[in-house]
C-alpha cells in the first residue's frame, strides 16, 4: 500500500506534588493504583488492577460503572527505567469489544513543586483524519483534546 501511515501523537504534561520516585511507584504499583484510580469517583464502580512490572510483563486495568459496562486496558512493559521513564504498548477495549493498540512513553522529571509527568501516546489516526474531523461534524473535539493535553 502506498498510502501514508503517519499517525497523530498526543502529548500531555502535569506536575504532580511528590518526588519522581514517589510518583513512579504510585503510578506503577497495583495497590496504590487502586486507590488513586478511583479517588475522584463520586459513585463506587468496578476497578481491578494487576501489575507484573518487568520487561515483557503486563499491567491490566478493568474499570467501569458496573459489571455490564467495563472498559479494559492492557499495557505490556517494553522499557522500565525507575524513576525516569516507562515505555509500554497499550491495547484498549471498549465495552462493545472493539480494541485499539497505541504506544505510550511516560517520563518523570524533578520539577519545581514536584514531578513533571509527561505522557506521549502515538499510533492514533493520521493527521488527515484529524483535519477531516475538524472540518466535519466533529469540529471542536480535537481542540478540546489538544487543550486538555497541553494543560
Amino acid at each position: 500500500m502506498s498510502e501514508t501511515t503517519e499517525t497523530i501523537d498526543l502529548t500531555l504534561t502535569r506536575v504532580i506534588p511528590a518526588t519522581p520516585e514517589e510518583v513512579f511507584d504510585a503510578y506503577t504499583d497495583a495497590e496504590q493504583q487502586k486507590i488513586w484510580f478511583s479517588i475522584l469517583d463520586e459513585e463506587p464502580g468496578v476497578v481491578e488492577i494487576d501489575v507484573d512490572l518487568r520487561v515483557g510483563g503486563k499491567q491490566t486495568a478493568v474499570w467501569g460503572p458496573d459489571a455490564q459496562t467495563l472498559f479494559r486496558e492492557e499495557q505490556t512493559f517494553l522499557e522500565i527505567d525507575r524513576p525516569h521513564r516507562l515505555v509500554t504498548d497499550s491495547v484498549g477495549w471498549e465495552p462493545d469489544g472493539n480494541s485499539m493498540t497505541t504506544r505510550i512513553v511516560v517520563t518523570f522529571e524533578a520539577a519545581d513543586g514536584g514531578t513533571l509527568m509527561t505522557v506521549h501516546q502515538s499510533g492514533f489516526p493520521t493527521p488527515e483524519v484529524r483535519d477531516f474531523f475538524q472540518s466535519m461534524a466533529w469540529a471542536g473535539a480535537f481542540d478540546r483534546i489538544t487543550a486538555y493535553f497541553r494543560r
Binding site: E3, A26, E94, S99, F124, T126, M136
Partner: protein, 118 residues
C-alpha cells in the same frame, strides 16, 4: 482482530485528499457518482474506484437509483475512530487527576501531622 483491520482501512482511505473531498461533499447530502466526478475533474471510472475504497472502509454507502449510483455518508467508522481518542482522553484525565489528588491529599495529611506550614 477484525475491528482493527476495518479501522486501518478507514484511516488508509482517508489518507487521500480526493477521497476526503468526496466525504466533505457527501456531508452536505447524497450525490451520484456523476455529480461527484464532475466538480472533482476526474472520470466516472476514476470516481467509481475512489467511492469503492470508501465503501470498503465503511465510510460511504451506495445504492442504485435508476441508471445512477447514489452515494451517501456512512459515518460509522469515523465514529469508531473518534471513540478511541475519547476513550484515552478519559483514561488519562482519570489517571492524572487521580495521581494529583492522591498526592495532594497525602501531602495535606503529612503537613497536618507534622504541623508544618503549607
Amino acid at each position: 482482530m477484525v475491528q482493527q483491520q476495518t479501522l486501518d482501512r478507514a484511516f488508509a482511505a482517508l489518507a487521500d485528499s480526493t477521497r476526503r473531498g468526496i466525504l466533505e461533499r457527501l456531508g452536505q447530502g447524497p450525490a451520484t457518482i456523476g455529480e461527484l466526478a464532475e466538480p472533482a475533474g476526474i472520470t466516472l471510472t476514476g470516481m467509481k474506484k475512489h467511492v469503492q475504497v470508501l465503501e470498503d472502509a465503511g465510510l460511504v454507502t451506495t445504492e442504485k437509483v435508476g441508471r445512477a449510483r447514489q452515494c451517501r455518508l456512512g459515518s460509522e467508522r469515523l465514529d469508531d475512530a473518534m471513540a478511541w481518542i475519547t476513550f484515552y482522553q478519559r483514561l488519562w484525565e482519570r489517571r492524572l487527576d487521580g495521581l494529583e489528588a492522591y498526592f495532594t491529599l497525602k501531602r495535606g495529611i503529612d503537613d497536618d501531622t507534622k504541623g508544618t506550614e503549607q
